[in-house]
């Protein structure tokens, strides 16, 4: 530091170098700001991975321990709805990616359309999820709240279970389906919570995008939200096989 620029003088320097309104004063350049926020988003996603990590661990342990219960439990989920939902979510990820592209290429119309599509697909996902949840509630498959093992000790009485030709589970194993359903609700519920937060932010973004934001070259917000949305998609990409698919065969 030959001329010690770091030594501040008492008088306050007047006049900032001019910069765009959305650049925060403590960043030297716009690039630096965009870079920093995107890195921050990635770090935030790391914490999310670890947050879900705890539940994935629990899932792996109990699936290993109580495999028959997990088989019977997963028979209660509908592959149809699950697959459809996967499709919906992947599509929303695609529209989101396209949205970012429209923002990058500064096309307002396309951006708004893509955001709306993502918004609608996100709502669609939650809608389908609530159909599935409603069925579980009806059957008393919500852990802790009047949980009933009827479908598992007496599969003949249950449509889904008899479709798969489930054999009756012994009572003690049947009780462990509660763990399966807890993990189902915890993981999909936490995922749905992330979707809900995402959808709220999407709503706000649509509003802003229509006012002409994000297509003026300052796209950090859209980009970072895209990262978040894709991350939520990835969680589902794993939840789907874990909960719906891999325990089908006894």
């Amino acid at each position: 530091m030959p001329d010690s620029p770091a030594i501040a003088h008492d008088e306050l320097e007047t006049g900032h170098p001019a910069h765009p309104s959305y650049q925060r004063h403590h960043f030297a350049t716009m690039d630096q700001q965009a870079d920093a926020t995107s890195f921050a988003m990635w770090l935030f996603l790391l914490t999310e991975i670890m947050f879900f990590g705890g539940m994935f661990t629990a899932y792996l342990i109990y699936r290993n321990w109580y495999y028959p219960a997990f088989v019977a439990g997963s028979h209660q989920l509908s592959i149809f709805w699950g697959t459809l939902n996967t499709g919906v979510l992947i599509s929303s990820s695609f529209t989101m990616a396209m949205g970012v592209w429209y923002a990058e290429t500064r096309r307002k119309q396309g951006l708004v359309l893509c955001l709306i599509a993502t918004f609608v697909l996100g709502l669609g996902f939650l809608g389908i999820k609530s159909i599935e949840y409603a069925e579980k509630i009806e059957k008393h498959h919500v852990p802790g709240l009047h949980y009933s093992v009827k479908s598992f000790v007496d599969p003949a009485s249950d449509k889904a279970a008899s479709e798969y030709g489930d054999k009756p589970l012994a009572l003690d194993m049947a009780r462990h389906t509660e763990l399966y359903f807890f993990l189902y609700f915890a993981m999909t519920g936490m995922h749905a919570l992330h979707m809900i937060i995402g959808i709220c932010i999407l709503g706000y973004m649509i509003f802003r995008a229509r006012a002409g934001d994000y297509t003026d070259g300052h796209i950090s917000f859209v980009e970072n939200f895209g990262l978040y949305w894709h991350f939520v998609d990835i969680i589902w990409i794993f939840l789907f096989p874990l909960l719906y698919l891999i325990s089908r065969h006894a």
Binding site: H26, F39, A40, M50, T57
Partner: protein, 554 residues
Amino acid sequence: MSSTIVSLPDQSTARIPKINFITKENGLLSWLLTSDHKRIAILYLISITFFFTIGGALAGVIRLELLTPQSDLMAADTYNKVFTMHGVVMIFLFLVPSVPATLGNFLIPLMIGAKDLALPKINLLSWYLYIAGGILVLYTMISGGVDTGWTFTTPLSTHYVNTNVLTTGMAIFIAGFSSIFTGLNFIVTIHKMRAPGMTWFRLPLFVWSNYAASILMVLGTPVLAIALVLVALERTVGIGVFDPTKGGDPLLFQHLFWFYSHPAVYIMILPGMGVISEVISAFSRKRVFGYTAVAFSSVAIAVFGFFVWEHHMFIMGVSSYSMLVFSLLTMLVAVPSAIKIFNWTFTLYKGSITFETPMLYAFGFMGLFTIGGLTGVFLGTSGTDIHLTETYFIVAHFHFVMVGGMLMAYLAGIHFWWPKITGRMYPEKISQLAAVVTFIGFNFTFFPQFILGTLGMPRRYAAYPPEFQILNVFSTAGATILGVGYLLPILYLTWSLKYGEIAGNNPWQATGLEWQIQSPPLTENFLEVPVMDHDAYDYEWLERQKEKEVASAG
């Protein structure tokens, strides 16, 4: 001020600059809505001190109860609440945020030549989360407390106590996010906001160690969060993941909890180690010996720190084979700490050493942390852990590393940077006295606990067999001395805010960027972006710098 300090030309004429980050704006709101990292650091400093007093008062109550073998001062369940709150307050509201949130917040942007942290608003949000967590803890305390121990062992916490587990859990959850955001902010800042020329290997070691601690905060804390969510669900709806009667495994909670809480002990110690590097270098006027080794050992601790958590569960019914792996890794994680200790020692070699208060605290740190760390190895060794676990040996171990280590480092740091933060010196003589009193009181308090632990006295006991009394009396007596030792800095530092000598920019003649600007600094830290053209701890650069100024002044 001690005569050993070289004075810069401006030292004699020093005055507190009229415009600085403190005087820039006035009024309570200007503080509560600030996004200036330095002001947020001050907010943290005040709130952390507040919670430390509460935690310390609870410690006093613990020690009073343990003066006699019977539980006569209070009932057993009151005692249980007291040590639980002591642990919760001290860990989550004091020690985890201590150095990073105060000194780290204040200094990291200054040290790397940035105008602020990358995400100032998130930084303020962190503080509000911390306060929300803190208020919830206070609320818990008032509304009956919680008696699970700070470790929330299931199924005790989920099915067998009817105290405020939920509010405490929520408090820790929220405070946890405060710590996540602080860590996230630091990592982004250190990666993206360094001044030109500030390469990784020119960063002060304080920045390195906070960086390592931030990695742990970002990756570890969410696992604690999910563990607490599961405990809350288990308590409220009875989901069964931790409930053996429903087929759950209570040990799973231990895995999740310690996955965070072991790395958390390194969250607590690493920033303190950073302080020690700065202090030792400044007062021996010498570059830290083996800079790269010290820097990398911080990262090594952070990485290995994730692989040893099971050493808290050795006798709890984990598989013996995985015990072997974790015990071995525990040995590996202890080595980087040894590396640091020896490098600090050799920093003194051929230095030019002075003994101001921060240096005294740093010496205290080195001795006490070595003892605490080595007894950690006793616990990491599976065979001896059987005998020593869950006794006062552990209590002594972690107070040696946390109080003897980290708290000493924190105080070293507070004294060291006090002139930078406030523009005024602390009174040297009385603070040296306080450092010595703390050291003596500390050893009196916690050394007997090693012997108690070896004798087998279990921790978390409101009443104990009478033959342990003598050592417990020692310990309580020591705690009184220790309390005085901690009360003193609170008093004289407050006093110095008004009456302390004016410090000038660089009272210690230290090399860091933060010392090259005015104290207290301006809100925007640097008027021009500084350009770093020398290594950290380059005292020759500082010499040249001084000559130049003398020349230009003369």
